[in-house]
Amino acid sequence: MSAWWHRHEDVRTWVALSPALLLVGLLFGGAVVMAGLRSIGLLGIGEGGPSLAAYRQLVTDPGFARSLGLTLYVAVVSTSLSVVLGIGAALLLRRLGAGRRFATTLFQLNLPVPHVIGAVAILALVGQSGLLSRLAAQTGLLDAPAAFPAITFDPWAIAVILQYLWKEVPFIGIVALAILSASGDDLEEAARTLGASTWQRLRHVTLPLLLPGVLSAAVIVFAFTFGIFEVPLLLGPSSPTVLPVLAHRRYTDVDLAARPEAMAISVVITLVVVVVVLLGAAGARRAIRGDAAVTEVGS
């Protein structure tokens, strides 16, 4: 037994992986399969046979299309801005001399703060009767809450995006800082002696170096901003609303007939995220081919 065990490394490998894979397979895989089956009318209480009625309903519902559009818009805008501002913040923090460690700690203070809290806080800050509006009133800039820009519950979901930025800019920034502190200075020095100007170093060294790591981080940000439920619920426009809120609304609709639709929406959410993850993974792999090879040869 023991000899057999020691000879078969592949068996040991899969045995070691099995608890985690079983959990993910059973629970996550189960969830996806269940949602999929129920979205086509299987396994639920219903009119019996499988049908694509729920999907047909979604396709023909202009509300769904608008929700999908809004969700994509929020995720894309939040992700792009987070990447740009996060990299900017990292470059800024990197130039700090004294106090850099302290500033970095403050910079990532938001990271472990749950999203619900962020949403409550952003509302208290930028709502029409929020702190900023009050400051404007106290300084005589504005005379009424309505005069303050309506950026909560607004069709452009600005408060939602602000909340995501509040949380994700530090995330991207920290990822970027980690990459830069690993090899950024060294490569930028090399580029300097090869004649690269400040701008050229940013363009040809810093950004390419950040690309794979930040791309991975951006995929994570996209997935989260595409899928969060509580933030748009607290800050976002109610109609159209984002897909996760729509899915929950349908799921908790007292009309049980809306459930397959909820399942179908959650399948759509899953598919969009999986596609983006695969694209991002492929992109990151291409971008880091050299990098990955370093570890391969080096180890």
């Binding site: 090899s183 060294d186 490569l187 020095e189 090399a190 580029a191 300097r192 002696t193 090869l194 004649g195 690269a196 100007s197 050229q200 040809h204 060294v205 390419p208 170096l209 690309l211 794979p212 971008a287 880091i288 081919r289 050299g290 990098d291 990955a292 090879a293 370093v294 570890t295 391969e296 040869v297 080096g298």
Partner: protein, 390 residues
């Protein structure tokens, strides 16, 4: 051909003085080695030359041009780093072409130049590889090609041979020497290895603790070291305490005749004459170490009229190309190397007579602290606090 002049170059990191008042002139078209143990300030000096660090004080001049305030990217000095620093996201060819791209050279031209540069360093055909797919030696050569393709006036190499296997080192050394013969560039090499400095450089600047200790031709360091510390760094193992009066030195081995190591008799002292005798190399009387390299001690065959001493062999070791014996003479341990078979029979306890040719002897000042012959003379500054980027 660009001369380099360093004038009182000083760099502090916080409380640490990494480089202290370095004065050095490097002749255009020469190879100069900045040599010293790790933490001596040599890489700091190189980065100051490259413009990657700003000096706390002092000036850097390339020829007549004062480049102290000139940014690294406009200085015309290219540095090759010890750890290659290839851009991991670019192929070898694109790495080599990087500098040309920064200059706005057209793609086709860049390709051609990069291919030529890669060929020069013996890597033709590898332009498409990513750095991760190259061996350490290949990466080092790509880094070199990346610098050469820019045809810099000044090329700065940081430990170019340090990370290479023995056979790669030889190839790389040949390559560097070859480059130097071809082009008229001024090369400054940083190394911690005295052998490497000797074979590569025409001129060596030895740094200890952020200060220039001795500067001169490689031979000087072997034959006319300014201090015991230099001597020890260059592997001289026999240091015999003595007292000099005139050309006579009184030692446990007897009276030895050692010519006065006055500046004029020390061949090829530093151009500025500062370091010929080292900082404490006052000529004249007083406590000295008498230095003699193991290979310059000869086993007496009875055909020499030089002074000789007799001692007892402690043990001997066969080292392949030579045999080394430890001999105790009048309470002093001497190490002697012979490349022929004269030591073949020198078993422990054997009596052995050694010849001390006057030309093999050299003295350096000795502080009157009565230390044992092989203990380290008191260092000039504490090494412990020194921080220096390598």
């Amino acid at each position: 051909m660009t001369d380099i002049h360093l004038d009182g170059l000083t760099r502090r990191f916080g409380d640490v003085l990494a480089l202290d008042d370095l004065h050095l002139d490097v002749a255009g078209g020469s190879i100069t080695a900045l040599l010293g143990p790790s933490g001596c300030g040599k890489t700091t000096a190189l980065k100051l030359l490259a413009g990657l660090l700003r000096p706390t004080a002092g000036r850097v001049r390339f020829g007549d041009r004062d480049v102290t305030e000139v940014a690294a990217e406009r200085r015309g000095a290219v540095m090759v780093f010890q750890d290659h620093r290839l851009f991991p996201y670019l192929s070898a060819g694109d790495n080599v072409a990087f500098g040309l791209r920064m200059r706005g050279v057209a793609r086709r031209e860049r390709r051609r130049s990069a291919a030529a540069a890669l060929e020069r360093v013996g890597l033709d055909g590898l332009a498409g590889r990513r750095p991760g797919e190259l061996s350490s030696g290949q990466r080092q050569r790509v880094a070199l090609a990346r610098a050469l393709v820019l045809e810099p006036e000044v090329l700065l190499l940081d430990e170019p041979l340090a990370n290479l296997d023995a056979h790669l080192r030889a190839g790389m050394r040949e390559l560097i020497l070859d480059l130097q013969r071809d082009r008229e560039l001024t090369l400054v090499v940083v190394t911690h290895d005295q052998e490497e400095a000797v074979v590569l450089a025409e001129d060596i600047a030895l740094l200890f603790d952020g200060r220039l200790h001795q500067h001169g031709a490689p031979r000087t360091f072997f034959e006319r070291p300014a201090t015991a510390r230099t001597a020890r760094f260059f592997g001289t193992t026999n240091l015999v305490p003595g007292h000099r009066s005139g050309t006579q030195v009184h030692t446990p081995l007897g009276e030895l005749h050692v010519p006065d190591g006055a500046p004029d008799s020390a061949p090829d002292s530093g151009p500025d004459g500062r370091s010929g005798r080292g900082p404490d190399g006052a000529p004249g009387g007083g406590a000295v170490w008498v230095l003699v390299r193991p290979e310059r001690l000869q086993v007496d065959r009875g055909d020499s009229d030089h002074p000789r001493v007799t001692g007892r062999v402690l043990h001997s070791t066969y080292l392949g190309t030579r045999t080394r014996a430890e001999v105790e003479v009048a309470g002093v341990r001497l190490t002697v190397d012979a490349s022929d078979d004269t030591l073949a029979d020198a078993g422990p306890g054997t009596s052995l007579t050694l010849v001390l040719p006057p030309s093999a002897l050299w003295t350096v000042p000795r502080e009157e602290d009565g230390r044992a012959a092989l203990s380290d003379p008191a260092p000039a500054a504490s090494v412990a606090g020194t921080v220096e980027p390598t």
